[in-house]
Symmetry: C2
């Protein structure tokens, strides 16, 4: 593996609830090329959530006492805070305006992964949640690509996440299909010393794709990574990494 390329899939339409995302992705890739075996297709969480209708209208939300208290503490909309709580297993910390939770799916991050950007004017007051089962969302896309093109690819759904101890967000994987969560292959160094590094390759690929996506964006919501070597896994689950 001497080199690889990371390419934006630029011709996707705006995604709406109920859209056939796999079909749109296949059409977009085939408009300027084709899938190859071992391609890794990286999808921004937002388009997966939108296609699946993982969207909540804040007008339908009533804030609990806990949400009202957290909202006052952080200066946020109480209904939005209620959505964070509904999506969370537990609140881990409150830092300034930031509410850090463990999402029901296991992910630790701010705002339970709930996102307000790229909401159209007619959708004002709606927020986008994480997909209900991101590994399954990835598996569906992978299966449809195999069915339509005969190519065996991997799919990663990524999201921008903050880190402890480091400022700024980076892309991380929140759903995977066809690629193991952790690369654990035994490595022998130049002098025969053996080690067993555990590499979060899916997070490194998620970060590499995120460079093209930027953070704000449905501008580049899908990226194709070509030329990687990785361990194919039919039973991959992102929770293996948590």
């Amino acid at each position: 593996m001497g080199s690889y390329t990371v390419r934006a899939i630029g011709t996707l339409p705006l995604i709406n609830p109920g859209d056939d995302l796999p079909a749109l992705l296949i059409r977009a890739v085939e408009s300027s090329g084709s899938f190859e075996d071992s391609d890794v297709l990286v999808l921004a969480q937002k388009i997966v959530s939108k296609a699946e209708g993982a969207v909540v209208d804040l007008q339908t939300i009533t804030a609990s006492a806990e949400a009202l208290q957290l909202a006052a503490q952080t200066g946020r909309d109480p209904r939005l805070v209620q959505v964070y709580l509904d999506e969370a297993k537990e609140v881990l910390a409150v830092k300034g305006r930031m509410i850090i939770t463990r999402h029901k799916l296991g992910f630790v991050g701010s705002s339970s992964g709930v996102d307000r950007s790229n909401i159209a004017p007619h959708e004002a007051g709606r927020v986008v949640l994480l997909p209900r089962d991101p590994d399954n969302s990835a598996r569906v896309v992978r299966a449809r690509v195999l069915e339509h093109t005969g190519k065996t690819i991997a799919v990663i759904i990524n999201d921008s996440c903050g880190r402890d101890y480091r400022d700024g967000s980076v892309g991380m994987a929140i759903g995977i299909a066809g690629i193991g969560a952790i690369e654990t292959a035994e490595k022998v160094d130049l002098f025969g010393n053996v080690s067993h590094p555990r590499i979060a390759l899916v997070d490194e690929i998620a970060a590499a794709a995120s460079i093209l996506m930027g953070q704000a964006g449905e501008g580049v919501p899908a990226v194709l990574v070509r030329g990687l070597t990785f361990t194919v896994s039919e039973k991959a689950r992102i929770t293996d990494l948590l």
Copy 2:
């Protein structure tokens, strides 16, 4: 920025203390191409440390009472633990065999960034430390490339680091030159909503390069990333991200 490429620089010799690393890197890149403006050269921490002689012989180390106690607790060599302590500002946590510290440079991670792999037989008992001033190490390489080729590149020194809340390591930046630690450009989404995401682009690039390096490896200790758009900074410091 529709695509970019990540390419291993494969023809570097084994690096030894005192080697002129910039000269070796320039020769290696020019053996199969040339630098272009806005290339990002990513260097594995290990080769920078080795060239700079940031290496310690454990035979010269005497373990303190604290090191002896931590070594007993974690089943590690007391002299190695002493090196962790010497490199650290503070010990943050002990988890099983892992000793998590805040390095003198500010980085939080296991073993104070001290590494034993890729040590030649005649170097048995030696361990590699982080470079003494990684930003300066990066600046020196960047300046030498400019001087020799006339091309303005960015340089990132990366290392494999673990994370809280997620299993497995990913590449992160520990030294930077010519590229800002955080991208903070205002973004306007498809519907005119404005946000100010803070993206740790240098960590995303470090991760993208790490995919080719693997973890064990001086096999691929240098990677060239071409086609990125980033904010050039002459005063970049990795500590801006800590």
